[in-house]
Point group: C2
Chain length 226, copies 2
């Protein structure tokens, strides 16, 4: 195994351990020692990647967005895709689930949880800004306001889905969210072409896995949980 590849795997192992410990014990009670035990790595390895518990939390937050999806012909389709895929990953990837749990953990008083939301708001702001430049959005749309609304609404929708049925209906709820939002911001010609279906995320993730496997055929470690 190449050195770089080994480092990437170690980092991932540490993040998964941190996410699990934060999830089980709460951020405030969790200790670096517990995360080391769980990850089965040395203190030196951990501190090579993360300087503090807070940096571990930021790393866990970053995992929410750590996926590159296939480009689409409209930016709004890419916005929809990232929301649908987030819903799917929340159901299938414990690390993503723990990351969102940490972002919403009211008990984590000593952690600045805003980066978790800001990263995602920034990404949406950028995509919506490009959509506006390309003429996909209605003239009146305030890109920054819409980006914040989308992230806020998604967070609440997934929370309600979690409370009501352990997120079993999350994809459907996110489809409903987009169905209510998009007509208010999208020009009709683009709206008519958007694919907002609950099984789209599954197809996109399969495509990502196929492309990764083709790019690195010797690697058999692409997460297939998604």
């Amino acid at each position: 195994m190449a050195r770089q590849e080994r480092a990437i795997r170690t980092r991932r192992t540490i993040l998964e351990a941190a996410a699990a410990v934060f999830d089980e014990r709460g951020y405030t009670s969790a200790t670096i020692g517990e995360i080391l035990d769980r990850a089965g790595v040395t203190k030196g390895a951990l501190y090579f990647h993360f300087g503090s518990k807070e940096e571990l939390a930021v790393g866990v937050f970053e995992e929410q967005l750590a996926i590159t999806l296939p480009p689409q012909s409209t930016r709004l389709q890419e916005l929809v895709d990232s929301g649908l895929v987030m819903a799917r990953r929340l159901r299938s990837e414990p690390l993503v689930r723990a990351s969102v749990g940490l972002a919403l953990d009211q008990g984590a008083m000593d952690l600045d949880r805003t980066p978790a939301f800001r990263m995602w708001i920034d990404q949406n702001t950028q995509v919506l800004g490009e959509a506006k430049t390309q003429g996909e959005l209605l003239q009146h749309v305030d890109v920054a306001e819409t980006a914040e609304l989308l992230v806020g609404s998604f967070s609440g929708v997934q929370l309600l889905s979690q409370l009501r049925c352990q997120r079993q209906d999350l994809e459907r709820r996110v489809v409903v969210l987009f169905e209510h939002f998009l007509p208010s911001i999208t020009v009709p010609a683009v709206l008519a072409r958007l694919d907002v279906s609950a099984d789209r995320a599954e197809r996109l993730l399969a495509q990502v896995r196929t492309e990764r496997a083709a790019a690195a055929p010797q690697e058999a470690t692409v997460p297939s949980g998604a």
Copy 2:
């Protein structure tokens, strides 16, 4: 003071104490003893109104909806009004704030928090159902889905506003939420007449206070914090 009026005040005192203790200590750690101390009432008085800690929590949840607003010419205006007033009360009434905090407290593992959402979903479902019967909604609207989406989105929007700026911009965010939702569900003739302005809640609450004072001129205890 009439006996009934005294009972209403005692109940309110107990609920405010319970909300404050849940807010500060978390539901799981809070004890009936602490709530008694805070409220300054006897054990008998408390158990006359609430049989258990869980019943206290449900009472705190109910306070979110415990307000009657002036009837409007469309049901959708009433839906908007209840959302705007909730935003305003979240900023001005500690009991409402604590109630929402309790509903979102992930640490309260031993409390069924779904009633807090279900009450509000049920109310929205009823109002939207009447709006549909009166021809205010577009034909394709699924009342139950829209009601769930609205409650989920509102919950997330207020959470993000809390994290970003201690809810200082909450009314504005709720206006943005309605501006994105309403065009997708409302027939144009009704949409054009809806008042979705950030200062509307303030005017409605002033009207409620005036009407209450007129109905009971001897009573000077209507909460003016709202």
